[in-house]
């Protein structure tokens, strides 16, 4: 039984990578190879999830989610894009992402982080004039590499589990990790690359890249468990930045006419709130963030997939500046689009209604500004999504097209599966919420209950090292390191409670 998780992990990661190589040889069978490899990854990840206790299953749940997204991508990918190069890149991205989710070693995490960006450099997926996505991905990789390098230089063990609660590398590593999150996730002021990537890159692989949510993963799996004290003191800054990003790009989307950029802005705005939820330090907020992660990923993939299908059918010069009336030609795609779109912005009856309810409720307690501003950002995003829907699908029909260009059965079934996930998940959310709730308790516990872990020899809390080494603080903070982590939880009036 012990070897089975390793076997499942190896299958989930190895099969996509092998299949990626195979697509270079059997180019004509690219879709079949991609579908099979993704299916194997889904099955292996699901078995892995089943074998893992609920409180420790965040990585495994994310593996299942990303495998399912890739499986859907291999089906919804239009024939024009379905070549060995694209499918190979997608499978490579799948293997790398699953490796990042499953690893417990910092070096492997760094390698997976870098590998997941490789297809976007090697295959020239981004047009030459678009440099910001490459820069964003590169800077995030450099920041993470420096953080891992600093941890290694301090002589720490590289296992994530053994570093929990020890603040390895101190403030410098914490800062570098936060920078990696900012660049990878597209948090203000590094948000512009996300829209550039969506517009200039291949729609579906880019959507997969964005939906890996490596930034949020780094927060949940690394920053909060490794730096519970620093995160408690300083992480609200990142949370506020995420909130500012959500508002900024929501306002920005109001006048955007490029459908891809508009969708990227809305997706970024909605997903930025995941960070605010993770940082809320409440079970509701963290659970809401994790559920939101799932629903944003599914909805965004659906929307980008439909947009690509429209581009293939009606030309790539789609715009939200005038009415195109495409619902006349593609009524089912119109319905899929509006359901995914409204699911992204919290329509009741979809899973995002529950996730946003939890998220806002959870953040209201710790950060009232989040609870007030997130509904405003969501309202603006809803207007943007409906504007895009209205401009693309409604209005006078395009006279240049006389044929019905609706979803093919292959596309229809996979999009229906996506709709069923967000709708059935919304009608019966308890199963998903309960699982995420267990994972949320683990994340919450990593911040709020570090007392039961032994600090590393010579460990200094960030506040202590600041006060002693850099002279930035003094006073009661300096007692924390001497008394050990158990002294940190001093109740609501403790020195370090916010």
């Amino acid at each position: 039984m012990r070897s089975q998780p390793w076997l499942f992990t190896a299958l989930a990661i190895g099969v996509p990578w092998l299949a990626a190589i195979l697509t270079a040889v059997a180019r004509r069978r690219a879709r079949e190879i991609g579908f099979t490899a993704a299916l194997v990854a889904v099955a292996a990840s699901a078995l892995l999830l089943r074998a893992t206790p609920p409180r420790e299953s965040l990585g495994e749940a994310l593996m299942v989610l990303f495998s399912c997204l890739t499986l859907g991508a291999t089906l919804v990918l239009p024939r024009r894009d379905c070549n060995g190069s694209t499918i190979g890149g997608i499978l490579f991205l799948l293997g790398s992402t699953l490796l990042a989710y499953s690893t417990n070693d910092l070096r492997v995490l760094l390698a997976a982080w870098v590998l997941s960006t490789v297809p976007f450099f090697v295959k020239q997926w981004f047009r030459a004039r678009i440099w910001r996505p490459r820069l964003g991905l590169l800077l995030s990789s450099i920041a993470l590499a420096l953080a891992v390098g600093l941890i290694a230089a301090k002589g720490h063990n590289m296992s994530i589990g053994s570093l929990q609660g020890r603040s390895p590398g101190g403030m410098a590593v914490f800062g570098l990790l936060v920078l990696a999150v900012i660049f990878r996730k597209g948090i203000l002021p590094a948000h512009a690359w996300v829209a550039d990537a969506a517009e200039g890159g291949p729609a579906i692989p880019t959507a997969l890249l964005l939906n890996g949510h490596f930034g949020a993963m780094l927060v949940a799996r690394l920053i909060m468990p490794l730096f519970p004290y620093t995160a408690r003191d300083l992480f609200p800054v990142l949370s506020d930045l995420a909130l500012a990003t959500a508002l900024y790009v929501a306002i920005r989307a109001l006048t955007e006419n490029s459908p891809r950029r508009l969708l990227a802005f809305v997706a970024l705005s909605q997903s930025a709130s995941i960070l605010a939820g993770l940082e809320s330090r409440t079970a509701e907020g963290i659970t809401g963030a994790l559920v939101h992660w799932f629903v944003v990923s599914a909805s965004t993939m659906g929307l980008f997939g439909i947009l690509r299908l429209l581009e293939v059918r009606f030309g790539e010069n789609l715009t939200a500046s005038r009415h195109l009336g495409l619902a006349e030609h593609a009524p089912r795609l119109a319905v899929f689009f509006i359901v995914f779109g409204l699911a992204l912005v919290g329509l009741p009856g979809t899973l995002s209604f529950c996730s946003q309810d939890l998220l806002i409720h959870g953040t209201l307690a710790s950060h009232p500004q989040t609870g007030l501003l997130l509904p405003i950002a969501t309202a603006m995003n809803a207007v943007s999504v409906f504007r895009l829907f209205a401009r693309l699908f409604l209005g006078k029909r395009r006279t240049g097209f006389t044929v019905m260009a609706d979803a093919l059965p292959r596309e229809r079934w996979i999009l229906t599966a996506g709709i069923l996930f967000v709708v059935l998940g919304g009608l019966f959310p308890n199963a998903i919420v309960t699982l995420r709730s267990a994972e949320a308790e683990a994340v919450e516990g990593a911040i709020d209950s570090p007392a039961d872990r032994d600090p590393a020899p010579g460990y200094k809390s960030p506040a202590e090292s600041w006060s002693k080494d850099e002279g930035l603080r003094d006073g009661p903070a300096s007692h924390r390191g001497q008394q050990g982590p158990s002294a940190f939880d001093q109740g609501p009036h403790g020195d370090f409670e916010r």
């Binding site: 004039r129 678009i130 440099w131 910001r132 512009a192 829209a195 900024y248 306002i251 920005r252 989307a253 109001l254 006048t255 955007e256 006419n257 950029r261 079970a283 509701e284 809401g288 715009t319 939200a320 500046s321 009415h323 009336g325 619902a327 006349e328 409204l342 329509l347 009741p348 009856g349 209604f353 529950c354 309810d357 939890l358 806002i360 409720h361 209201l364 307690a365 609870g371 007030l372 509904p375 405003i376 309202a379 809803a382 207007v383 409906f386 504007r387 209205a390 401009r391 699908f393 409604l394 209005g395 006078k396 229809r412 229906t416 959310p429 308890n430 919420v433 309960t434 709730s437 949320a440």
Partner: protein, 448 residues
């Protein structure tokens, strides 16, 4: 679960189930016939009326004040839970009855009115979804569930305004209405979250959440924002004439009967909370009074039947708000029921009435003498002209909203766009004229 509880569940869920079934068979590729759709609609709402009658009979027989059904929690995270409670009490039962009766009537009327219309199935799908949303909102035992129904009503309203999707104005007006709905719904969402935060619950099946005076005032004002948006009260009245772009039956059921009164229902539900705050009560009265005056003046200057009726609705809803603010709950409920019924009839009759008028005018060889225009004669002549201009532009409310809210937001968005494109080639026309939809393109007198 006794039979009255089962019946309540049936009444609420039946239209939702029909919507889901019709949508699924359409997605699978089968388009049901008009006869099938109208029959299934008729059967559903007839059964719902019967079920509601049985619930009323049961309540009268047992002397019980309400029927409630508890399904447990929709989802739970530690101490936080989202309760699923349906409640049919003395306030919600009249609204439930009004909904099933009027939606059933509209269904029968529309089967003929929309015969061979291209969007026949779409209309009935949205009608069922709207009925489900309304019934959910009126029978919710908690504000959380009320929000769900409230949002569904909003979405169906928007999609029905854009029903004639081949024409640009209905689509653009739907977007404008959607923007106002979403902006005002922030009040409802934040109000409900505030209730959770302060009282630990947003359920009202055991009474309203306990709040202090200040908290009641804050929550009351937030809910007033939501109610004013949904009921098109001043300063959000500008969306109502735009909403007349939808088919007449949907205008009747939404803006003559149910959706327009949903805001009043919300205020009736929290009336004890409003009553505990002088500020909140005064604001409800002020909003209602202003809207009533605004509605009657603009309605008199409206050039088309549906817009006149919409503003007549607005006037009455304004008066209903005043009644709620004063605390006359029973009068407000009776006013709503009477108004909804009469206004639905007027909306449905409007197209054929215009036809009758034209026939009469042809028969007498001229126009009929105008009636009901004596009130404005009380004002001096120069003021009459000023008031006419003011009414013709619908109180300049859209202009004020555009100038103070929409344009600054759009300018900010364009500024951010310029910042985004620093250092790279700016794609042409990507953000130049995107704001057209937000400030809309409806012109006074263009709708009808």
């Amino acid at each position: 679960m006794d039979y009255s509880q089962t019946l309540l569940v049936f009444v609420v869920l039946a239209p939702g189930v029909i919507f889901a079934l019709l949508a699924l068979v359409w997605l699978a590729g089968w388009v049901p016939s008009e006869r099938f759709i109208s029959n299934i609609t008729g059967v559903t709402f007839s059964a719902s009326i019967l079920a509601l009658a049985l619930i009323l009979w049961r309540l009268a027989a047992t002397g019980s004040p309400s029927v409630s059904v508890t399904f447990g929690n929709w989802f739970t995270v530690q101490k936080y839970h989202f309760p699923l409670v349906l409640l049919a009490d003395r306030l919600s039962l009249p609204f439930l009855g009004m909904t099933v009766v009027l939606v059933g009537l509209i269904g029968q009327f529309s089967a003929t009115y929309l015969h061979r219309e291209r969007g026949f199935l779409r209309f009935f799908l949205l009608l069922h979804l709207f009925a489900f949303g309304s019934l959910l909102a009126f029978s919710a035992g908690s504000f959380d569930l009320l929000v769900a129904g409230w949002e569904i009503v909003g979405i169906t309203s928007i999609l029905l305004i854009a029903f004639f999707q081949q024409r640009t104005p209905p689509v653009e007006n739907a977007l404008r209405v959607f923007a106002i709905y979403r902006a005002c719904d922030i009040g409802l969402l934040v109000g409900v979250f505030a209730m959770h935060h302060w009282a630990g619950t947003a359920s009202f099946d055991q009474g309203l959440p306990r709040l202090t005076g200040l908290q009641s005032a804050v929550v009351g004002l937030l809910l007033l924002l939501a109610a004013a948006g949904k009921a098109a009260q001043v300063p959000f009245s500008g969306w109502l004439p735009r909403a007349m772009e939808g088919p007449t039956p949907s205008s009747a059921i939404f803006y003559g009967a149910i959706s327009i009164h949903a805001g009043a229902y919300l205020l009736l539900r929290v009336q004890p909370m409003l009553a505990s705050s002088v500020l909140a009560s005064a604001l409800v009265i002020a909003v209602g009074l202003t809207t009533a005056i605004h509605g009657t003046m603009v309605g008199r200057a409206s050039a088309d039947a549906k817009t006149s009726l919409a503003y007549a609705s607005l006037t009455q809803v304004g008066v209903i708000f005043v009644e709620i603010g004063i605390g006359w709950k029973a009068i407000a409920v009776m006013h709503i029921l009477g108004h909804a019924t009469v206004r639905t009839l007027q909306f449905l009759r409007a197209p054929s009435m215009l036809h009758d008028y034209h026939k009469m005018q042809s028969a007498i060889g001229g126009e009929l003498s105008p009636t009901g225009q004596h009130l404005e004669d009380l004002f001096p002549k120069n003021m009459q002209l000023w008031l006419y201009r003011w009414s013709l532009d619908r109180g300049h409310l859209d202009t004020i909203l555009d100038r103070w809210v929409v344009y600054p937001l759009m300018r900010l968005s364009r500024l951010l766009a310029r910042l985004d494109y620093i250092g790279i080639d700016r794609p042409k026309d990507h953000w130049k004229d995107a704001s057209v939809s937000i400030h809309g393109n409806a012109r006074p007198g263009s709708i009808g």
